[in-house]
Amino acid sequence: MNWTFTHIPDIALAIWQHLVLVGVSIAIAFAISLALGIWTARRPRAYAGVLGVTGAIYAVPSLALFALLIPLVGLGRVPAIIGLTAYSLLILVRNVATGLREVPPEIVEAAEGMGFGRAQQLVRIELPLALPVIVAGLRIATVTVIGIATIAAYINAGGLGALVFAGIDQRFAEKIIVGGLLTSLLAIGADFSLSRLELRLRAHRAA
């Protein structure tokens, strides 16, 4: 463990880069998915179409997707963020739409009958009630993206993957283990805290 303790700043930098990649991608994907999810929640055919496209993107292996972006935007963080954002869309759109669709119909009817405008109904009634499912989607997407972001290091985006790739090049097992384990811990941490948030939201919204 010698290397680890003498290179904490480098490791910390890698963690930070990783978090930035994940954070920015999820944030952008969330914004897009909110819009798409709201738009397709009540339109089954549009929903199927969006799910088909995002599902196809999700199936493509990350290295290949990043590679396909390189001719368009070069190396570095840009293709990484575009790719990671694209991967998150399927899960997020699906959960936003499902969450909205699961709001009990009598509540929607009561809100409409009481005189909520469409926008207010969404913001004050439907989205708050859909929140647990939406947060579940955020949780799954975040954990997934934390894993995929390791590949982004190969296209010069930095992050914990850089440690792993360095370990491969230098036949240095410690770097591989540290990179892999830290990524895993990050993912487990995100899963745990978002799980707790999800459970609290559910309890508060029980009918």
Partner: protein, 318 residues
């Protein structure tokens, strides 16, 4: 107050209309009950008044204004709306639920707060105990009361109620019906009330509109409907015991004679319905009963003949 003129609703051109050429006039401050078998169009009709469903033909006027000329959202904020499953917002407290429409209308904070307490009192709930509770912590009856309070919050002149007491057990339902009628004596509202229960219609309605296959079959006071059903369908619908139902609309004090005396017949209170009085007299095998007030004084007598005369009386209850 509410006027429907030749209202029709077709959901698809090849199906029969859900509502067919319906015209109705609901006077201000009265309860109009829409009733009929499943699929008769009663709920569809009600929901056209606040434009949750748009009429295919005809016009609807609320307080003299054509609803089609108004912004639907603004219209709905002026109409109280209560549905069977209530639809309380689970993520909001009781107070926030009740405050919903006043907030949409932009009332000042202080006014909303007083209003919440006022309304919770009105529906028989203790504000200090229940304000901060959440719907999941309430019983069915309590939720229903909050639902009514929520509908009354912005003091709308008109209310639409779709089987509001339908999902409650019969004992609580009777109590809620009575309390609601009592509330209405204090505040004046024009109400359209949908139900499938003829007894509820007779109890709650000032006028009853019987619908069938989208058409209005009869519109009249409960006594008119019971005494003079328009056709075999209505006669069947109100039940074979309609004569007895009519008796439930009259109380003893309105049918008794003022003579004191009478030998040892059963005692009956002046507010008892003729129906209950008849039941008592039949049980005792008596032909007359003495009408006794709470403090023991006799007010008069009630005879079987007087009761029979009431049933064949074509006039309505006073």
């Amino acid at each position: 107050m509410i006027r429907l003129e030749a209202i029709s609703k077709r959901f698809a051109p090849h199906l029969r209309p859900a509502v067919d050429d319906l015209s109705l006039d609901v006077p201000e401050g009265s309860i109009c009950v829409l009733i009929g078998p499943s699929g008769c169009g009663k709920t569809t009709t009600m929901r056209m008044v606040n434009r949750l469903i748009e009429p295919t033909e005809g016009r609807i006027f609320v307080a003299g204004e054509d609803v089609m000329a108004m912004d639907p959202v603004a219209l709905r904020r002026r109409i109280g709306y209560v549905i069977q499953q209530i639809g309380l917002f689970p993520h909001m407290s009781v107070a926030d639920n009740v405050a919903t429409v006043p907030r949409l209308l932009g009332w000042p904070r202080a006014k909303i707060e007083t209003r919440i307490d006022e309304l919770l009192h009105l529906v028989g709930l203790d504000p200090s105990a229940l304000r901060a509770r959440y719907p999941r912590e309430l019983s069915g009856g309590q939720r229903q009361r909050v639902g009514v309070a929520r509908a009354l919050a912005a003091d709308p002149p008109v209310m639409l109620m779709d089987e509001p007491f339908g999902a409650i057990d019969p004992i609580t339902r009777t109590r809620l019906q009575n309390e609601f009628l009592k509330i209405l004596r204090e505040i004046r509202k024009t109400i359209i009330f949908v139900t499938h229960d003829i007894d509820e219609a007779i109890k709650m309605g000032d006028r009853i509109a019987i619908l069938r296959d989208g058409r209005l079959v009869q519109y009249g006071t409960p006594d008119e409907i019971l005494a003079q059903p328009a056709d075999a369908f209505v006669e069947d619908f109100v039940g074979a015991d309609r004569a007895l139902k009519r008796l439930a609309l009259v109380s003893v004090k309105d049918a008794m004679s003022a003579d004191i005396g009478g030998e040892g017949g059963p005692e009956v209170a002046p507010d008892t319905t003729l129906r209950d009085a008849l039941s008592l007299m039949l049980a005792k095998g008596a032909r007359r009963a003495r009408v006794i007030e709470g403090n023991g004084t006799q007010l008069g007598q009630l005879s079987l003949d007087a009761i029979l005369a009431r049933i064949s009386d074509a006039g309505g209850p006073r």
